[in-house]
Symmetry: C2
């Protein structure tokens, strides 16, 4: 935090007496992205005072809006007992995300300080990997027995009200916690008071297994326009729910991973600013090196055509332009197509349609670029012959890049390989070597070289 | 639809009597992605029969799950009066999306056939651009006066129940429709029956202006963990609500646009398979041509160093490898960083930290690649001198690509330019020309050429 931002911090206008005002100031820092640096920089005593003034509930809510790694670092600056109180007050799924970022020994010390019920809940959530439905769920749902009458159910809800803050659906379970059906709160309230819950409930309901990928849960939830999705084990026991506000996090995380992969880097596990250069190096070097190996044969191709190059040195002027344009055209195809595959818009059986479409588009793009390349060749004064060679080469290379960029991700997906491995750098690299082959072959034929 | 898929279609096992079974079959087609081709291929009489058998509600729900352009094409195969009935039964925001895809004259004919109230609602929704909060909202909310008692409000809800299917919040408005506060349905039901709604409601509520970008609405909704967000005009009149299940659509659409732009193509307006090659050409040719112009100067650079090239022809062997590796390293930085900026993880004031981080990472990557490049040079038997030149050049180029890839998107964003214009092809192209300059300058110095 720079000095001129310091004056906006709560320190500048101390107001420990006014909790509302303190909260507003912290919220303002949050919108400016200054909240985390501020909370990590104040002395522990001041941090403890802020937590105390806001109260565990409000401070917990505030931490819940932060990245779990940031929240974990802030919590670890509090006394263990205080951290335990804040975690108890947080939404269990958010608390579990934060706990997942705390070192195991420290986490155990905090869990011991927590109320046994809340600690047990957290331990359960921590057993599922964070990117599964079970890792995303919250145990803060309401379940009732099918034999209750509607009015009894409303009374039961009143007792449970505090624990189930955002309740929208009421789940109906048997004595073994197995899910029987669901009722919307609205249905329950608006139904005749004497009707049995078991007669009012909907039994044809969508569920997701705890070990399913979080992305699958997000899709089930949105495709069925639900506000919450029950998570069950293999006995159909209700373990928790995933709520609609989790979907945004899940989708954003998956899109981030896809974009990072499409840039030929492994996804980061933490927000960008928290990742060290060594870690960034680790995430990037594998692909950079694999692409280097794939590209190294361009040298072999060039060496193979050394005689042609020596005879018409002007041919070398167009190498970056031709293979660059091919890589760009391939990247356009790959980025659009891989995304369409992720969204389920394109499936393997569409391969003929996709290839036809990309071939036609590539041909039009290639011819347009041929005109531009020919003009550029005349400008460089390399002669009409070389101009015709480069114009023909750019057309062939663009079409080739488009067709390869269409086929490769679709075939890989069919082979159960994540199609995002066909990144923009990947297709560019692939087109570099093959593009040179196309170029020199055309040059040899047209210019009768060698 | 291919022949062997035909046998899975509802045609094969006619069951017009059993509506449930027909719906299940259509749902199965939907999960296989066959529903749209099927509905567009059956004779209009059969389509009308399907719509009639399912009923307007169920058929409307089914259409609501499709892409609006597909749904519009299917609806336009029905008689105008039938299409109007289905649209009336659909959720208003989904109906508006579909209407937006129908040609204006055809849409007017359908609106005339609709019930005046529903038609007016649709017309209102159609006045906002589809990517704004107003274009995304639904008017299916419940509002009550502040003077009602809690039990009266529940009675009022009972009357409104059918129209407000997924009601979670009850909004409190004054006689001019201005938003005063909000109550969760749960709060309303669980409060003492005699309390005034005006005393129970929360007045400190989050709203979004109708003309705000849909992405802003999505972020407000998720950051505040809401299930619905009220959309207001500049008089704070309640116009509609955006519900949590819309957020997934909004975020997916924004991510798709970003990914397409990062591949140096303009975003498509329809699903990929619906876009014609001419339209794809139009979306791609602008960037492809701009990048071509930017890359054309690589020819000038090469011509400028013609003497060096002629003297040591082996230098040309490494051109694709060096500029390709630079482009790959730059793409890795750009794709990771632009996404982090979109998520708000990185802001302009972080520029020094980002540049330092990327410089350090680039140096480590560059040195690693220098070792690989030197070995490759020895394998190509071009001599230790050239090997040292290419090793030094790859280090410098990778560092240069990383630093440019870090600075450019951040500066553009600060200048209010969408940072996704710095796509993977963009940074590759930029590094191609500058990379050549770096390479030949090092070669000239080390090899004492020219």
């Amino acid at each position: 935090m720079s000095l001129d931002e310091q004056k906006r911090s709560p320190e500048a206008t101390p107001s420990d007496g006014e909790t509302v005002s303190l909260l507003d100031q912290l919220r303002y820092l949050a919108t400016e992205g200054d909240l985390v640096p501020y909370l990590l920089q104040v002395p522990p005593s001041r941090l403890a005072a802020i937590a105390r003034d806001l109260g565990d509930e409000v401070f917990g809510d505030l931490l819940g809006t932060l990245d779990p790694a940031d929240a974990a670092e802030i919590l670890s600056r509090l006394a263990v007992a205080d951290a335990a109180d804040v975690l108890e007050a947080m939404a269990p799924d958010e608390a579990a995300d934060v706990m997942g970022e705390i070192a195991p020994e420290a986490a155990d010390r905090i869990l011991i300080e927590m109320e046994p019920v809340e600690a047990a809940e957290l331990r359960d959530l921590l057993t599922y990997p964070p990117d599964t439905a079970g890792g995303r769920m919250t145990p803060a749902f309401v379940s009732i027995a099918p034999d209750l009458r509607a009015d009894q159910a409303v009374l039961a809800l009143r007792r449970l009200a505090q624990e189930a803050e955002g309740v929208t659906y009421v789940y109906v379970t048997d004595p073994h916690d197995r899910l029987l059906g669901v009722l919307s709160l609205r249905n329950l309230v608006l139904s005749p008071p004497h009707r049995r819950v078991g007669d009012l409930m909907v039994t044809d309901l969508v569920t997701v297994p705890a070990m399913a990928d979080q992305e699958e849960a997000a899709h089930l939830l949105t495709e069925n326009n639900l506000l919450a999705l029950p998570v069950v084990d293999d006995q159909r026991r209700l373990l928790g729910i995933i709520t609609a506000d989790d979907v945004a996090d899940i989708l954003a995380q998956e899109a981030t991973e896809d974009i990072t992969r499409l840039g030929a880097s492994a996804p980061l596990e933490e927000p960008y600013l928290r990742v060290s250069p060594v870690e960034l190096w680790r995430k990037r070097i594998v692909w950079l090196f694999v692409l280097f190996l794939a590209q190294a044969y361009t040298g072999t191709v060039m060496q193979f055509f050394e005689a042609e190059l020596a005879e018409v040195i002007a041919l070398s002027f167009f190498i970056p332009l031709l293979i660059g344009t091919g890589g760009n055209a391939g990247s356009q195809v790959v980025m659009t197509l891989v995304r369409a595959m992720t969204l389920g818009e394109v499936r393997f059986r569409d391969l003929p349609r996709v290839v036809t479409k990309e071939f036609a588009t590539g041909l039009m793009l290639g011819i347009t670029m041929a005109v531009a390349t020919f003009i550029r060749a005349l400008m460089l004064d390399v002669g009409v012959d070389v101009g015709m060679v480069v114009a023909a080469a750019v057309t062939a290379i663009v079409v080739w890049a488009a067709v390869v960029g269409a086929i490769l991700p679709m075939v890989l997906r069919q082979l159960k390989v994540d199609p995002t491995v066909v990144s923009a750098p990947f297709i560019s690299t692939l087109v570099d070597g093959t593009g040179l082959l196309i170029y020199f072959t055309i040059a040899r034929m047209v210019l009768r070289l060698g």
